[in-house]
């Protein structure tokens, strides 16, 4: 350990307070792209729960609904039951591989344009600029003493932020219940506690993350940049400062005074001023860079003004950068996008997607699952027959009540009845009605002659009474006591 003086060194700080980042407004093609993506993603988020989808009398009419209470997931024409959760798993795998694909092809485009943290932070910053003014005014206001003007502006800004945050949290719960009903319930105090709690938590996190923590979330809290930086390679697009062209830096005046001794960078700092994470791209690729490309817009507009070629800061792969440094032409874009790695990702992504489409298209909406009751394994009956019992679940996934015929294969002389009937009415099959969109659980008894193998395999089948195509079976077994005394 060091001496006390070193430990008490005022310069040595164990913890760092956040440096304020007030990005400057900028205009350009990437900024416009960001506007468009922001509008689309926000619209999708806020509007989706309000899309209606007629599913008849037995199911909710909301197009996208995560019905936790009834354990159903509705997505337009697709209805997912808990036992079909692998579709959701498949979608998550696709989302993951999709991110790999995007990252290997175009770098951290997800971070820069469509990550919720980016989108809401961007939205909050627009609000901030509208109320406090642009970068310089914001700095000035921050340093200004608290007075009526500053308090007023702060209150105005925070109110708008809170309103947006509340709207965001409110939209989230709409995905979990019928949206129009929930809105009424919410404002009349009738909604579930969890709805208020969720809105509260999401309002608070949106307000804090979007308003105050911003780039801190990206740099310290989000695991994704670490994964992404590991996944990018020399062929991934990234925002690159062309130091071989820009350095050494010098102002326009200096460059005019000593032609040839300065690069294109005039050290105007515009790239730093517009950066939402407050980094200096001229220090090279770094974890704080979310590749939103606003610095490209800023630099290009400066280059235009001073009549130098655009693209001092540019989207480029590391390979392109090396080629350009050596004075050669870039690789063709197609060659960058279509390479073994991206093709492999795309193939896996597509294969999972096709497999899921196929599975969704071919799934039966009727299902039987049987469990042999183990306690007791078998029951000796008075007339010498042996009875086994099974707990069966019959799923009717259609939005209408359905009669189902339960049958069995290859069990000689056996009859079945359920806990709703008795052995007097037993037969080879059993017809039972399953209500719309639900699971019926019943106990099935099967009695067979006592002389036979100790264990006999067979299958329980189920067929919809109105459609022989809709059927399912579950392999199960019948057990008898060992004979002999």
């Amino acid at each position: 350990m060091g001496s006390p003086e070193e430990i008490l060194d005022p310069e040595l700080k164990l913890y760092e307070s956040r440096k304020s980042v007030f990005p400057k407004a900028v205009n350009g093609p990437f900024r416009r792209l960001k506007w468009v993506i922001m509008a689309i993603t926000l619209a999708i988020y806020y509007v989706t729960p309000w899309i209606r989808w007629d599913r008849g009398p037995y199911a909710p009419d909301q197009a996208v609904l995560v019905d936790l209470a009834n354990r159903r997931f509705y997505m337009f024409g697709i209805e997912i039951w808990p036992h079909e959760f692998y579709y959701v798993a498949g979608m998550l795998v696709m989302a993951g591989i999709g991110l790999f694909l995007v990252t290997s092809a175009v770098g951290r485009a997800w971070c820069g344009y469509s990550c919720p943290q980016t989108v809401w932070t961007d939205l909050f910053q627009h609000v901030e600029r509208a109320i406090d003014g642009d970068r310089n005014a914001q700095f000035k206001l921050q340093d200004a003493p608290w007075g009526p003007k500053k308090i007023g502006k702060r209150l105005a800004k925070w109110s708008v932020w809170l309103f947006i945050a509340f709207w965001t949290g409110g939209a989230w719960i709409m995905y979990f219940a019928d949206a129009p009903t929930l809105v009424v319930d919410f404002w009349t105090g009738e909604a579930a506690f969890v709805a208020y709690a969720t809105v509260g938590v999401l309002t608070l996190t949106t307000f804090i993350f979007g308003g105050f923590m911003r780039e801190q979330v990206c740099i310290y809290m989000c695991p994704w940049p670490r994964i992404q930086t590991a996944m990018m390679d020399e062929k991934s697009l990234t925002v690159t400062y062309k130091d071989w062209r820009g350095e050494p830096r010098g102002s326009v005046k200096k460059a005019e005074a000593q032609p040839g001794s300065f690069g294109d960078c005039i050290d105007c700092n515009q790239c730093v001023a517009v950066c939402p994470t407050g980094i200096d791209i001229r220090e090279g690729p770094q974890i704080g860079c979310i590749t939103c490309a606003l610095c490209i817009d800023a630099c290009d507009s400066v280059m235009e003004k001073i009549n130098r070629p655009r693209g001092l800061i540019d989207y480029a792969t590391l390979e392109d950068a090396d080629l350009e440094k050596a004075g050669k032409a870039h690789n063709p874009v197609l060659k960058t996008l279509f390479r073994p790695r991206t093709i492999l990702y795309f193939s896996i992504w597509g294969a999972i997607g096709l497999a899921m489409l196929f599975a969704v298209g071919n799934r039966t909406r009727i299902d039987i699952s049987a469990n042999h009751d183990r306690n007791p394994v078998y029951v000796q009956l008075a007339d010498g027959h042996v009875r086994n019992s099974y707990t069966i679940n019959l799923r009717n996934m259609e939005n209408r009540p359905r009669d189902m015929i339960i049958g069995m294969t290859e069990l000689k002389g056996a009859v079945m009845w359920s806990n709703a009937g008795s052995r007097d009415g037993a037969g080879k099959t059993l017809v039972t009605s399953v209500p719309a969109d639900s699971v019926s659980r019943l106990r099935l008894y099967i009695a067979a002659p006592g002389d036979g193998p100790v264990r006999e395999d067979f299958a329980l089948t189920v067929t919809a009474a109105d459609d022989a195509e809709a059927n399912d079976m579950d392999e199960i077994f019948f057990e008898r006591p060992e004979t002999g005394e």
């Binding site: 350990m1 060091g2 001496s3 070193e6 040595l12 700080k13 164990l14 913890y15 760092e16 307070s17 956040r18 923590m213 801190q216 310290y220 009751d373 183990r374 306690n375 007791p376 029951v379 000796q380 009956l381 008075a382 007339d383 010498g384 009875r387 019992s389 806990n419 709703a420 008795s422 052995r423 106990r443 008894y445 006592g450 005394e485």
Partner: protein, 311 residues
Amino acid sequence: MSENKRVDKPTGTETVGHEWDGIEELDTPMPRWWLWTLYATIIWGIGYVILYPAIPMINSASEGLLGWSSRGEYAQAVSARERELDPIRQALVSTDIRKLHGSPELMQQAVEGGRSAFKVHCVQCHGSGAAGSKGYPNLNDDDWLWGGDLEAIEYTLIHGIRNPDHDQTRFSQMPAFGRDGILQSGEIQDLVSHVRVLAGREKQSAAATRGAVLFEANCAICHGSDGTGDRTQGAPNLTDAISLYGLDRASLTDTISNSRYGVMPRWGQRLDPATIRMLAAYVHSLGGGEKLPALEEIADQRDESDGDGQS
């Protein structure tokens, strides 16, 4: 060790002093909010310790200002559940057990209630799956000594089997033919043969024929000449495939020689009527429950009142 302190030149940040393959770790300061979060969790933790039981003492833990305890919470949950079940229990007690099948929903609730009551009171003898064991009836099968309809099962539950101090209890007593010297051991062997013929376990033999005569004289009064038993006396049917004590020669010899009496407690003095009714419903639902004769009569009466009921 101030001389060991290294500052990374490009960033101006100190290093932590680890070095691997020329790569050194920067001692980058954490953001301040991170520290605040740490303090907040510490404050939360202290508050939690004060409000809830947390500090271990010798016999228990500190009580906490809120007075919360897991036992208290459990007791609350139990009484809340009991309040919830009250209407079901009342409906069960006020419904005639012969008409219980008429309301499937109540029946279902009774079965579920019985399932858990069975796990508490009955598994010790009848086993968790109600499959019983030697001397303890299997409640899943369709053989009943005293009757297997809802009413009979409930009666057995309330009054028990062979409770000496109770006059309504189910009671049967088979003589100990060997121990009391009623029959000689050779005669008992002949009887065993006959009983095994009745049960279909042996072929007719000279011994069995001798046994048949003995059976008629000693056993038929309870078990019937044909051995089919008598429920009013709790005498088992000897011709079916099920036996409480086993149909092998040794078991039968023991049963006839020494006789055997299982005893079941009289649950009427230990459990409330609703729980007993639930247990009856559960046992009846295990797969061997019989129809109530009365139920058909009720149906007949209804047919008659409709005007076309001729049997």
